[in-house]
């Protein structure tokens, strides 16, 4: 069992990873309290450093507006000079391509991904085997693009741990993990609603989780769960934004409720008729809109390292 007192589970005192808190050597309550202080300080300092944002998983309950947020975020990032790759992992929602302003859909990657563990080789799967996959490596048929905006459709991630040892979830996580981003390249992933996907796939290889919360207790509750899961899976940067907020009152209420769960809100996207209409009609959000401005405001905080 080894170091049963170590909050970091370090096998032995002074081993790699040891922070010299003294917890394992403490024999009195006072010593343990001192040690806890050092542990807390260390954890607090750890939380500040998330590194550069390169891969964002956008999460939230179904219907909360993930696709809209993804489309908005992509637009705003493009406006700031970023190159974007959007990955759609939600098979049931084909509206994302249209919201992003594309006419057609790319071939889903899932079929290709399925071939890899079966040992298929050939030029069309070669790029999948690379240690680091650059944006340019991905064949055109699996992408639709417009300028610096690339769009991939992964297809539905099925239940993991079924069938072969190398599961769909493993492959997708693996793929996202190996995607190489150069400076000012960002990957935005629209994930399925629900926290189950956390333990099972894509989120593990991202560095940022963006939680979308709408005015409902269920949505707020889920936000708490997503933070808990993201933290547990080792993702240090989790940002929360409010969507479809009708009034300042409503916004404050949500901020208070989330505050009770120790969740800070990065920004708010107001209820915007223009967005609702665009979504309803299945077209892109053209030009300026209040929502786009809201997103621009919070972009800096969304991406910042601490």
């Amino acid at each position: 069992m080894g170091l049963i007192h170590c909050p970091f589970g370090i096998p032995y005192y002074d081993c790699v990873g040891c922070i010299d808190c003294g917890m394992c050597l403490a024999t009195t309550k006072e010593q343990m309290i001192e040690a806890s202080k050092i542990v807390r300080e260390h954890l607090r300092s750890q939380q500040k450093d998330g590194g550069v944002t390169t891969k964002i998983a956008v999460c939230g309950k179904g219907g909360v507006g993930k696709s809209t947020i993804v489309a908005l975020l992509a637009e705003v990032l493009l406006g700031e000079g970023y190159s974007i790759m959007v990955m759609d992992t939600d098979e049931s929602n084909s509206g994302l391509t249209r919201l992003c302003g594309f006419d057609g859909e790319p071939a889903p990657l899932m079929d290709l991904l399925r071939q890899v563990p079966q040992g298929q080789s050939g030029p069309d799967v070669e790029w999948l085997r690379k240690d680091r996959i650059a944006f340019e490596d991905i064949p055109a048929e699996y992408m639709v693009e417009r300028g610096q905006f690339k769009f991939l459709m992964v297809g539905k991630i099925e239940d993991p741990f079924q069938g072969c040892a190398c599961t769909m979830a493993d492959i997708t996580r693996d793929l996202v993990g190996r995607l190489d981003t150069k400076e000012k390249e960002i990957v935005v992933i629209d994930t399925e609603a629900g926290v189950e996907s956390f333990g099972r796939g894509v989120e593990r290889s991202v560095d940022t989780v963006l939680v979308i919360v709408e005015p409902s207790f269920q949505s707020i509750d889920l936000a708490g769960r997503i933070h808990y899961m993201a933290r547990g899976m080792g993702i240090s940067r989790v940002r929360t934004i409010l969507n479809k907020v009708a009034s300042a009152q409503s916004e404050q209420k949500m901020i208070d409720e989330l505050g009770k769960k120790e969740i800070a809100v990065t920004g708010t996207i107001g209820l915007d008729n223009e967005i609702s209409e665009a979504g309803f009609e299945g077209r892109a959000l053209g030009g300026e809109s209040r929502a786009k401005n809201d997103m621009k405001q919070m972009l800096k905080t969304l991406l910042q390292e601490s």
């Binding site: 333990g199 899961m229 120790e262």
Partner: protein, 344 residues
């Protein structure tokens, strides 16, 4: 330095210079020259080689050998003598069996019984948050429950980068039951350490999962670190409350909750299906099952004490009548996230 003094100095490092038995352990496990070398650690190889007039290559070989016998452990500053009993015990007794002097387990048992177990009970009672947590046996988990990654034995095993199995140092020492020895699961950094010193063997996913299932069938309790962080899921212990140096001291004082957090589950019994065979009661390591008289039956039926049950599922797996089941009773937040350490 006189022969005895070398050993006394080492015993001092573990905080028990006055323990005859500990001195005996040290004299049995290393030569005076080895003890003298160990006393100099941690030190650079150059300094050591010069001081003890040894060849640096021979020195490295020697240290590697001491490492495999559990007499030194790795640290940021190089190999060093483990500086408390828990480390020394685990390092020595989880070593490859052929490297352990035959008298050692018995001597350690004496250390444990005379004073060490009381120290453990005292130390564990002082913790704010238990550092250890029970997780449910895989086959006892209800089919409609989505397990969290850090309570899911299968996920933990599959998510790890490296996997190794080694002997349970506690059971090697106490052997107060028939449970198997070779079932302490190590992952990632812990696995690398076990593999590098030859105390563990690397196993593929399927084999480790079989070993886990077999240990669960035995009724052993799966234990992991009590934190909702995949990074810290670097071991799964399969414990019995007769031999485990964490559980056993607490068993006597009836206070398992001092050192252990419960799983998110609670065992429930269908008393109609129960035939009163007492298998579950015997299997329970937490004394949570009593056989009680019930109306309408001559037989005494299994009754779960909800306060005492840790939700390990050992009883569920042992019941041929399928009269027992686990029920989810605690939310995800029961397992502390790193924020629990920061916020308190």
């Amino acid at each position: 330095m006189a022969t005895e003094e070398v050993y006394i100095s080492l015993a001092e490092k573990s905080g028990h210079a006055d323990s005859e038995v500990l001195l005996h352990i040290l004299t049995q496990s290393m030569t005076p020259d080895e003890a003298a070398l160990i006393l100099e650690l941690p030190a650079t190889h150059e300094a050591l080689a010069a001081k003890l007039n040894l060849d640096e290559v021979a020195l490295q070989k020697k240290i590697d050998e001491l490492m495999s016998r559990g007499l030194v452990v790795p640290s940021r500053r190089g190999a060093r003598f483990p500086n408390n009993l828990a480390f020394l015990h685990e390092a020595m007794l989880s070593s490859a069996p052929e490297l352990i002097p035959p008298e050692l387990p018995g001597l350690w048992k004496e250390v444990y019984r005379s004073y060490w177990r009381k120290e453990i009970a005292d130390a564990l009672s002082g913790l704010e948050i238990p550092t250890l947590r029970v997780v449910p046996a895989q086959k006892a988990v209800p089919s409609d429950v989505d397990l969290l990654p850090w309570e899911d034995v299968e996920f933990i095993v599959k998510d790890a980068k490296t996997r190794a199995v080694r002997n349970c140092a506690c059971r090697v020492m106490l052997r107060d039951c028939e449970a198997p020895l070779h079932n302490c699961m190590q992952f990632n950094r812990r696995a690398d350490y076990a593999l590098s010193r030859g105390s563990g063997r690397e196993v593929p996913v399927e084999e480790m999962l079989s070993l886990c299932l077999a240990s669960e069938e035995e009724g052993l309790v799966p234990i992991v670190g009590n934190i909702a962080l995949m990074d810290r899921m670097d071991y799964i212990c399969y414990c019995c409350s007769c031999c485990c140096t964490g559980l056993e001291p607490l068993k006597e004082v009836g206070n398992f909750t001092a050192g252990y957090a419960k799983s998110r589950f609670l065992a429930e019994v269908d008393q109609e299906a129960c035939i009163g065979c007492q298998t579950c009661s015997e299997r329970c390591h937490f004394d949570a099952i009593q056989m009680e008289k019930v109306p309408d039956s001559k037989k005494r039926k299994a009754t779960i004490d909800a306060d005492k049950c840790f939700g390990c599922g050992a009883c569920v797996l042992g019941c041929e009548q399928k009269a027992l089941a686990l029920k989810l009773v605690r939310p995800p937040e029961h397992i502390p996230s790193i924020n629990a350490y920061v916020m308190r």
